[in-house]
Symmetry: C2
Subunit: 496 residues, 2 copies
């Protein structure tokens, strides 16, 4: 039998699981995820990442000597040749009756960290190089792929161009002091760095001698450069890593996270709201339609963990139930001013249950957003027209408002259990209005190129930013953002 | 007519150009790319980025007063409502007879840099915030999108998962001293940075106090982390920015560039070669099939510029001709050893025309690669089985070779006019062999997680890296890598 595996084409386990060609010779490779049986027959659960499901390999003790059978450990890689048959066992439709099993790589049961038992999430984070081999993380990372592909597909079909805003930028207009600095200086050897010879900065490092000839940061958003793209090509989107040096050790912050940022010429705020709702529903539907088995597994995990929570912390819906609910219902769209009104009139407010103050002009806190989404409207909410003073300089100022109550055409999308998942706005296209803001902030000179787009052929345009990991949290039901990206970067942690 | 544009749906110019619904009212918006005519009628060439082609807008002088007509400048944004008619003019099949034209944003002809005349590439780089509004850069960036989408589509259809290797990394195993350093220290104020209090590094900056608690760099490749993905999920690919602090001011180097890096479990070197050839042909075919008009424009530009070159520098084929030639022919696959033999036997070598020495063991220079691809084989070449000593530590050592002639299962894909476009290898999956190399390099401790994948369930696997900008150079026929990425990062330049 030795030669069969060299002649036969290896098949993905997913294809074998879906095959109806029984009693045929087949060949596959994968890692043992489970192993059970008795002295006469061993059952191996084999997985190659192509599906959340293992295929069962039936290894008759007569065919495989004891020395080989001892190496059928969880984590070991094997090559299997045998016959595909309909399974009599529960939970699977097909199995492979093995003729030949070759160990490709052993996994010593004493040493291999990922044993078939419950591991803490923290333990798995410390073993992030191996955790993708678990059923949970396999499902999460297949869904991360699924959603990534759906993003590209959605935009490509609608004639948006993928636009590569730079990661390295000399502009820190949006950074607000939370940008990482990038340098080619050997900062461990301060003496080696060229210094400024005279003047008020004498003795400081001479940034004109650094690689880019100026202080350079990691981008916190590709939006400003994406606007340049939209104002030439019509509709563009970015999708890539962004960075924030925020010292927040929470379950919702990463120093390196992925953002999706579409920008559209000729779109006003309402077009923007229509797009974001359609987009988010498309992504959820794509995952449900194409990666159902992965979501079903995570749903069962979610329901089990939810039932173990205190009653007041328990989610009202299961994972799939929640996703289908979002698909079936319109997002509630209300202005910031209306939202303040809802909050002020709520029993919750009157009973003094909010920790933070509610009044027109303040930024809404997480408790307010959750109240609106989870208690009051019980559906995703798009809040729009925020007070000008709490929003970014590039957002379009609404006209004809009374002094002290000026708003901008901003929008935030709030999701149950997640809070803000999208922030966006119509952009200020009027040069005079925009420059008044950049003058206030002292960034007019730095942003000359951005202002140029308002000098030459300016048009109304809009865009938004979706926090990709927050979307994955929502769709997987996971609770910690470190568990939805392969190698999370957080304060004091850049391992792997 | 005033109200029509508010009722009618705006259409993309590409859809109007392809429409056969003549004599219907239509509404669109875009930027004026060209303007001509006489006192009775003005013809505007309107573009919104959806197509390389402008749509012609016919503006009867009687309908539009002189003050408005004076604002029909190149670069101005306009909203147009009118009737779609079959065009009598050459070069277009449809045009819009305008009823209403509204200026959305003016462009002062005295100030707007992008006038309808030949601009130098250098001038356009300095105006990279506006250059996407030119026909050439519109075509390039649509093709950049097209190829990006094709990459995702190719891999998704073949069950590869998009894998997000981190940008920030504490590992510099591959950096070879050319990684950018990332810090949250205020390096302009050295006194503010915490210092080591005692020991041999006393007075140096204390990296345990930096954001990640250790020296951190920008990745030069996502490969090592992608291997972790492949050894769990089967087949993965990365596609994103990578960084190299190489002080090369050439037409082929960027400090920030995009790489595509697939990694596949259970693939040997031959599988890897089959994949890369199929992949590259798919990408070229996708661009030709879906963005033909953009490539035709670049082809005409290429042919014109080529004819102005000195004879010995002239390309033998036009752009489209070259792309179709690559599709129609097998890549030539030869070993490094065979390639050395070809070079040594060549007339070129015998006449002493190579500047650099040719002998077994040396890294091939660009002149050697070009000779093989452009003069000898006249087709893309895959060179494989390179000397061990000139290749990376993670490449699989070939067995049974004589001392001093050891090779590794590496492969480089060489393209005409580009040189190396892909580098890849089968990876060393044998722990003892791999660790012998990491020990030599002193990186065993740092790469404990990488070595772990060879300890537990190791399998043969392979992968490669495609320099995305080099692919775009090949497909667009452009000569400078700064012209195929929206905002190039090069020594002393991080503008926009």
């Amino acid at each position: 039998m030795e030669a069969i595996s060299y002649i036969m084409k290896r098949q993905d386990i997913k294809d074998l699981l879906e095959s109806k060609e029984f009693d045929q010779p087949v060949h596959t490779k994968g890692w043992i995820r489970g192993e059970r049986g008795n002295a006469y027959v061993r059952f191996l659960g084999l997985n190659d990442g192509s599906s959340i499901q293992n295929i069962q390999v039936v290894a008759d003790a007569e065919k495989f000597d004891e020395n080989l059978r001892k190496r059928f450990n969880v984590g070991a890689a094997v090559s299997v040749t045998g016959t595909l048959v309909e399974s009599k066992g529960k939970g699977q439709s097909v199995e492979i009756v093995a003729d030949q099993i070759e160990i490709l790589g052993d996994a010593d049961a004493e040493q291999y960290p990922i044993q078939p038992k419950a591991h803490s999430m923290e333990f798995l984070r410390e073993n992030a190089h191996l955790r993708s081999r678990t059923t949970t993380f396999g499902a999460i990372f297949r869904l991360r792929h699924a959603l990534s592909f759906a993003i590209h597909n959605y935009f490509n079909e609608r004639r948006f161009y993928y636009w590569h805003s730079p990661i390295l930028t000399a502009s820190d207009a949006e950074g607000a002091g939370e940008s990482f600095r990038v340098t080619n200086f050997d900062i461990d050897n301060f003496d080696s760095i060229p210094k400024i010879a005279e003047g008020e900065n004498k003795g400081k490092i001479d940034n004109t001698e650094d690689f880019f000839g100026q202080p350079t940061n990691l981008t916190v958003s590709g939006q400003l450069e994406a606007e340049l793209g939209a104002l030439a090509l019509g509709r563009v989107y970015t999708f890539g890593p962004t960075f924030r040096a925020e010292n927040s050790n929470t379950a919702r912050h990463l120093a390196e996270f992925w953002m999706v940022e579409p920008e559209m010429a000729f779109y006003d705020l309402e077009d923007n709201m229509n797009l974001v709702e359609d987009f988010l529903k498309y992504l959820i539907k794509y995952a449900l339609d194409n990666y159902r088995k992965d979501i079903e597994f995570l749903d069962a995990k979610f329901v089990k963990e939810n039932s173990q929570k205190k009653k007041e912390e328990r989610a009202e819906m299961g994972l799939i139930e929640k996703l289908e609910f979002v698909l079936a219902n319109d997002f509630k769209r209300i202005t910031y001013t209306e939202a303040i009104d809802v909050l002020l009139k709520s029993k919750h407010y009157k009973k003094g249950k909010f920790q933070y103050d509610v009044k027109w002009g303040v930024d809404l806190q997480s408790e307010h957003e959750r109240f609106l989404v989870e208690k009051h409207f019980k559906t995703p909410v798009i809040l729009y027209n925020y007070p000008k003073d709490i929003k970014a300089f590039y957002m379009r100022q609404n006209d004809g408002e009374e002094a002290g109550k000026e708003t901008v055409a901003a929008m935030d999308v709030l999701f149950p259990g997640i809070g803000e998942i999208v922030g966006g706005s119509q952009r200020e296209e009027r040069l005079d209005r925009l420059q008044a803001r950049t003058d206030e902030m002292g960034i007019t000179e730095e942003l000359w190129w951005y202002l140029d787009t308002r000098k030459f052929g300016t048009v109304e345009h809009s865009g938004f930013g979706l926090g990709f990991e927050r979307l994955i949290l929502f769709i997987t039901g996971m609770g910690n953002i470190r568990d939805v990206i392969p190698f999370p970067r957080t304060p004091k942690n850049a391992d792997f």
